[in-house]
């Protein structure tokens, strides 16, 4: 019995944390970030611990609150998403406690961070398409408030407006696609039953339309080109820890949600080809957009787009030919991306925190020249993250790309070689904007930079944890593959419950 109740424990811990962090924030005089932060971190640790307990049991586990009905289904994919979500959430929470991201409103900031994490955990746990949408919306609404969290800065509000309008429209398209699936199957939404209930029709029909709606709908949140236009502003203008949460967690989770929704579509519909083309487009366009950027945070924001592209491309190759290794690569890159992007954005946040009192403009690479000598932890973390993002072995970003390339090469003939070349070529292209970052960080210091203090300890801890993750995952990818492999199998072979 305890085993079944355990299934919902991560969600309950996080939902409890949302309420608890709010109450802790309200009860603190002077709106200090410590108490709500500690409550939030506790909830995340609890969720992580129960996720680990779930991992040790035989999966999948079916569970419904108080008996029958649509409940949750714990699969390897749920554990995978839940682990990433809780780890990123923990790093973001610790970072936000040490910096001023919560902006005198810690009672609101930490619950919103937790709700984002809870939404991602729920995406993994959801047993039917509608639950998937509900949890997706929990995540989305929480980020709607996190992006324009600095409500008294005009650019932040405007970036937020753009973000919420585009994403609300995207969510609408996704749920419209789900309603089409509902209409097509006559009322079946459960993942386990769907793959049997959905039958491909000859020629374009409602199912094809539904697939298109799902891809475009989740694609907006995932920032698939040409639906990426909200991303650079939203990442640049949100508080640093919220950018880390978005880049490391929310955006990749949207791709996983898309993959989970599409995993039930029968083979007759060419989902794989669609994702392949979108993925290739996304990484190429994203890399070119990032090339000329001089603003460090904006550069990292733009560089998130190609990484979305790699993941979508990996899923596309996987769906196209049914190659295990491509699914592994896509999900491994989700995991690696969490560490790389999380570490990079948190480190940029730490630099911004130190530079906040300094006069003048301090976001471009020129202004940050030489920051590596004054803040070695933050700059070192950015350097590691940037190398990993470019796919330099033996860092975390290398393996995901390698598996995706291997998957592409399995596509027969010249097409396979061409697909592999696209990925490899894009990796080299990305060096074109990552190398200037390295150069600038360890250039001769400017006046403003040379008087900086070192990275504050409370900010250094989560940054170092993320960097350590990037390096360890690169040195020992087997650890990651233990988690990724079964999750990729679930995505590939559907979510049927084995008796």
């Amino acid at each position: 019995m305890s085993g079944t109740h355990l299934a919902i424990a991560p969600l309950i811990a996080l939902f409890g944390g949302v309420l608890g962090a709010y109450l802790a924030g309200r009860s603190t005089r002077g709106r200090s970030a410590t108490r709500p932060g500690v409550v939030a971190a506790l909830a995340l640790v609890l969720a992580l611990a129960s996720t680990w307990l779930l991992w040790t049991r035989s999966l999948p586990i079916e569970y419904a609150l108080f008996g029958e009905g649509v409940g949750v289904r714990v699969t390897a994919l749920s554990v995978f998403l839940s682990t990433i979500a809780c780890m990123v959430g923990l790093a973001v929470t610790v970072h936000a406690m040490g910096s001023d991201d919560s902006d005198d409103a810690a009672d609101l900031y930490f619950p919103l961070v937790l709700a984002t994490v809870a939404g991602v955990v729920g995406i993994g746990l959801s047993a039917d398409l509608f639950s998937l949408y509900v949890f997706f919306e929990v995540m989305a609404v929480a980020t709607y408030a996190l992006v324009p969290f600095a409500v008294d800065r005009a650019t932040a509000v405007e970036a937020g407006l753009k973000y919420v309008i585009m994403n609300a429209a995207g969510s609408l398209l996704a749920i419209f696609g789900i309603s089409l699936v509902y209409a097509h199957t006559g009322g079946v939404l459960d993942f386990a039953a769907l793959s049997g209930a959905l039958t491909a029709t000859t020629g374009p029909g409602p199912l094809e339309a539904a697939v298109l709606f799902l891809v475009v709908g989740f694609g907006v949140k995932a920032a698939v080109v040409p639906l990426h236009t909200w991303l650079p502003d939203a990442y640049t203008e949100s508080p640093a820890s919220a950018s880390a949460l978005l880049a490391a967690l929310a955006t990749p989770a949207a791709i996983v949600a898309m993959g989970k929704a599409l995993s039930v579509v029968p083979d007759g519909v060419s989902v794989g080809l669609l994702l392949l083309v979108l993925g290739a487009l996304t990484m190429t366009v994203g890399n070119f957009l990032a090339l000329g950027q001089r603003d460090l945070k904006r550069l990292l924001a733009y560089s998130s787009i190609p990484h979305v592209g790699y993941i979508v491309f990996g899923l596309g190759v996987g769906f196209y030919g049914g190659f295990d290794v491509a699914f592994d690569g896509a999900l491994f890159h989700v995991l690696a991306n969490a560490f790389m992007k999380g570490g990079a954005f948190l480190a940029v946040g730490a630099i911004g925190y130190r530079l906040a009192g300094v006069e003048g403009e301090h976001r471009t690479l020129d202004a940050l020249a030489g920051v590596g000598y004054r803040m070695p932890v933050a700059a070192g973390a950015i350097a590691v993250a940037v190398l990993a993002l470019a796919g330099v072995p033996p860092l975390a970003g290398f393996w995901g790309k390698l598996f995706i390339v291997l998957g592409s090469a399995e596509v027969s003939g010249a097409v396979g070689v061409g697909l592999a070349v696209i990925v490899v070529g894009n990796s080299f292209l990305s060096l074109g904007y990552y190398l200037p970052v390295l150069g600038a960080l360890f250039d001769s210091p400017t006046d403003a930079v040379s008087s900086l203090d070192r990275t504050p300890t409370r900010l250094a801890v989560p940054i170092l944890a993320m960097t350590a993750g990037t390096i360890l995952l690169g040195l020992a990818p087997a650890f990651g593959l233990d988690l990724v492999g079964p999750a990729a199998d679930v995505l590939q072979h559907g979510l049927e419950v084995t008796p």
């Binding site: 408030a145 800065r153 509000v157 609300a168 749920i175 309603s179 509902y182 209409a183 502003d233």
Partner: protein, 94 residues
């Protein structure tokens, strides 16, 4: 009858999206969001009126929350810019 309802669902979605894309004022955009979400409801009800009620009720509540948050962002934008005209809010590039 059901076919007509599906047609209406698509019509509402298209109307809503048109308002989102072409709307020059934030309020018009949000009216589009609200309208398009009604199309989704029609799809669910037309397929299985009694069985989908739980889904429809939850969806109506979600839509209300989303629209409330979007209106909150609109109010925040109005505080900063003094207008809700999307053409005037052009400081950041699309």
């Amino acid at each position: 009858m059901t076919a007509l309802a599906y047609g209406v669902a698509v019509a509402l979605l298209v109307l809503g999206l048109a308002s989102i894309v072409a709307g020059r004022n934030v309020v018009k955009t949000l009216i589009g969001v609200e309208l398009a979400s009604k199309g989704v409801l029609v799809n669910f009800v037309a397929t299985d009126p009694a069985g989908s009620q739980g889904i429809v009720v939850i969806l109506i509540v979600i839509d209300a929350v989303v629209v409330a948050v979007l209106l909150g962002v609109a109010v925040a934008a109005y505080r900063q810019y003094g207008t809700l005209d999307l053409d005037a809010l052009g400081r950041l590039t699309w």
